[in-house]
């Protein structure tokens, strides 16, 4: 049996966790869930996840804080941010802050599951080297 990619889903809404888990489960992923940032961070520490789908707004510890912590602890899980209504700016801010491995963000109420799946797969494959070179070539040198 080939290596099963692990996904961690962090959200305080049980139904979201249910739907997402079932969806990825069906498609051959190993899925674990956490109900808040703190729980999510603990799971990240205990085992290796290729991708984490993280809700931004949660009690106890929110998504941004969890990602920040994971970053400082050197956890290299790729992150996908889920946002609620009107939290787009927060997600963009998170990406702009330079948190490594924040691959994408999706607005929950307007989500397309195929796009999410494609993004997860893309992150699992890693960025193609040509794309990295192309991005580097257009960036100003001083940056």
């Amino acid at each position: 049996m080939e290596h099963q990619e692990s996904i961690l889903i962090v959200d305080d809404e049980q139904e979201i966790l249910n739907v997402y888990r079932y969806f990825f489960d069906k498609r051959g992923f190993h899925v674990e869930v956490a109900h808040n940032g703190r729980e999510g961070l603990e799971k990240l520490r205990t085992r290796k996840f290729e991708v984490a789908i993280v809700d931004l707004k949660m009690p106890e510890m929110d998504g941004i804080e969890m990602i920040r912590q994971a970053n400082t602890e050197g956890i290299d899980t790729e992150m996908i941010i889920l946002t609620g209504h009107g939290e787009k700016d927060d997600a963009i801010a998170a990406i702009n802050l330079g948190y490594r491995a924040v691959g994408a963000w999706f607005e929950k109420s307007g989500i397309n599951m195929d796009e999410l799946l494609a993004k997860v797969k893309e992150l699992l494959e890693g960025v193609p080297i040509e794309e990295v070179r192309r991005i580097l070539s257009v960036l100003p040198e001083d940056v």
């Binding site: 809404e13 997402y20 069906k26 707004k57 949660m58 929950k108 989500i111 599951m113």
Partner: protein, 632 residues
């Protein structure tokens, strides 16, 4: 031949040729004073003077004569006629030339007849006839005119008598003239007092007002040298006529004519007649009582104009009084004219400074001050009403802003609230569709999927229903509102939003019976709570361990209510002072309207409650809403 006489005569004749009769007469008049004057000269001068009289009379001819009576003879160009009569009379008196005596004899016969039977009217008629005949011979036979007039008086034909007396005034000597005037006045009195014939009385008295100025004009202007000057002072009958006429008009309520008469009367005596002045003031008062302010103002204006034109003394007490009254009218009447009032008050100061008494000065100063302040007030009022309307507009705008802000608050809360169920439905359906596409969907999954979706729509329904209730709720009717329910419901609206802002919301509800009930309108109370809650949210947002506590309590013997606490920075001393004032806000204008706490308190007060603030122990603010429990 005496050269002096010749020289005088020569000069007089020269004047005569030049038709300078007055000068000629004047010279002839000096002749009798000459020492060499004799009968011969007398005859010559008498002829000369009579000639001049004839010449003067000729000048009056050519004007139509209406009747045979003497009146028409010289009811013509009065001035010339008068001069002619005078010159003739003078000459006649001076040289003892008399009217032909034949008629006198005739008269005497009739007069004797009258003495036998004074009440015999045909006798009077005969007397009248004789005199009329006499007048045909000598139009200047003043005695005849007088007798005719007197006869009519006897006959009680007062109208005719007055007419003849009026004519007599034209021919009479000065002393007789006065008695004729008196007779006319008497007739006026008879008409007015005995017969109550106002129109006839007025007509009669008015004759006097015509005669006197004419008479005086003739004497004082036309013949200053030749004739003896009339007595200085006003003819008493003239005054009497004014008084009588004024009284008639005044008593009849004809204030227009009355004031006209009294002004002329006042002018006649240079406004020195106190009774007349008093009457004018009385008329003004009458107008004032009748609320005919325009009339009293016009009358005062007329009086003042007359005085200013020199008919009165502008440095007098009465002038000041008139000015003062007029100014007061301007000041007080409905036809309010501040500008005119000011001008007059100032004029009183200027022209009447020396007679202005101290208290009046003060009074005028007060008046002026009042006017000025009134003007200022009016300006202020105009400005104020402008401000008021601006304020109303501002208020309307703010109310709108408040509603928008409120709706915004609610919309944000609702949006947060619906985000989760929509996200779940979206993910579930999208996943199912993808499963279908990838051939991963099992038929037995359908049931749980639909149940999941239904459950979320139920959640959405509740949110929408709550919002709808609140947004469209009836805000007038009152009911028993359970504060626990209120706080829970409002908290549920905010919970998602507060979570979003990392604010912990902790409810501590009073669970013992009785439940905290307040007789109020649910939605208004909810709005008040939302306002206080929003305030707390804004205070703690972005702070570490931000938390809000919502507590309810009930003391069945005293009061019940709820408390909203936060662990924010608390309130600054400056803000605390104006906490519940409208438009006081520590927030930027985009964030708040500054009406939240003000409106919350207003709502709570409307329901008999109180909203107050204190510091929370451990930092932050504590807002207490307290409703007294009414004991039955």
């Amino acid at each position: 031949m005496n050269t002096q006489f010749d020289a005088l005569r020569e000069q007089a004749e020269h004047y005569e040729k030049q038709k300078k009769y007055v000068q000629a007469l004047m010279l002839y008049k000096t002749i009798p004073d000459l020492p060499e004057y004799d009968e011969n000269m007398k005859q010559i001068i008498c002829d000369k003077i009579c000639n001049i009289g004839d010449e003067l009379l000729k000048e009056t001819k050519g004007i139509p004569i209406k009747t045979q009576r003497v009146k028409h003879f010289w009811g013509l160009q009065r001035r010339k006629k008068f001069l002619a009569r005078r010159s003739f009379k003078k000459a006649a008196n001076t040289f003892k030339i008399h009217i032909p005596p034949g008629y006198k004899k005739l008269l005497k016969v009739y007069e004797k007849a009258l003495k036998i039977d004074p009440s015999y009217p045909p006798g009077y008629k005969k007397v009248l006839k004789v005199y009329e005949e006499a007048l045909k011979i000598d139009p200047y036979y003043s005695q005849a005119v007088y007798q005719i007039a007197y006869t009519y008086l006897h006959l009680k034909d007062y109208q005719e008598a007055a007419r003849w007396f009026r004519d007599y005034c034209d021919v009479a000597e000065q002393s007789e003239y006065a008695s004729a005037l008196r007779k006319i006045c008497d007739i006026g009195d008879i008409f007015y007092k005995q017969q109550k014939k106002i129109t006839k009385a007025i007509r009669t008295y008015k004759k006097i007002l015509e005669i006197v100025p004419e008479y005086e004009k003739t004497f004082s202007i036309e013949s200053p040298i030749y004739f003896e000057t009339p007595d200085q002072g006003i003819e008493p009958e003239y005054v009497r006529a004014f008084e009588a006429l004024g009284t008639i008009y005044f008593d009849a309520g004809d204030y227009e004519n009355a004031s006209d008469i009294y002004i002329r009367y006042c002018e006649l005596e240079q406004y020195n007649n106190e009774a007349a002045l008093h009457r004018l003031i009385e008329i003004c008062d009458k107008y004032y009582q009748k609320k005919e302010y325009r009339h009293s103002i016009e009358l005062y204006e007329r009086i003042i104009r007359s005085i200013r034109e020199g008919r009165g003394d502008i440095h007098s007490e009465y002038y000041k009084d008139f000015l003062f009254s007029l100014a007061n009218f301007y000041y007080e009447s409905n036809e309010y004219d501040n500008k005119k009032a000011i001008t007059l008050y100032l004029e009183i100061f200027k022209n009447c400074a020396e007679i202005l008494r101290e208290f009046e000065k003060e009074e005028i100063c007060t008046r002026l001050e009042n006017i000025y302040s009134e003007i200022a007030e009016r300006a202020q009022y105009a400005k104020l009403s402008l401000l008021k309307s601006e304020l109303v507009e501002q208020r309307a705008e703010l109310e709108q802003a408040r509603q928008l802000a409120y709706l915004g608050t609610m919309a944000t809360a609702v949006a947060h609230e619906i985000n989760q169920p929509v996200g779940i439905i979206r993910a579930a359906t999208d996943a199912a569709l993808l499963d279908l596409q990838d051939d991963l969907l099992q038929i037995e999954e359908l049931g749980p999927l639909l149940r999941r979706i239904w459950k979320q729509t139920e959640r959405l329904h509740t949110i929408i229903e709550n919002f709808r209730k609140f947004a469209r709720g009836d805000r007038t009717t009152r009911e028993d509102v359970n504060l626990n329910q209120l706080v829970e419901q409002t908290a549920s609206l905010f919970s998602e939003q507060l979570t979003h802002h990392h604010i912990a919301l902790r409810l501590q509800l009073y669970q013992e019976p009785p439940a905290p009930l307040v007789f109020a309108n649910r939605f208004q109370l909810e709005e008040a709570l939302i306002n206080v809650l929003s305030n707390a949210r804004d205070a703690v947002e972005g702070r570490e361990n931000a938390a809000i506590w919502l507590t309810t309590w009930c003391d069945p013997h005293k009061d019940c209510g709820f408390v909203v606490e936060d662990n924010g920075p608390g309130l600054s001393a400056e803000y605390r002072k104006h906490l519940f004032m409208p438009f006081m806000s520590t927030k930027s204008t985009e964030q708040g309207t500054g009406l939240g706490l003000y409106l919350a308190r207003k709502i709570i007060q409307d329901f008999g409650g109180a909203l107050c603030h204190e510091d929370r122990s451990g930092g932050g603010a504590r807002f207490i809403v307290r409703f007294p429990i009414e004991k039955e």
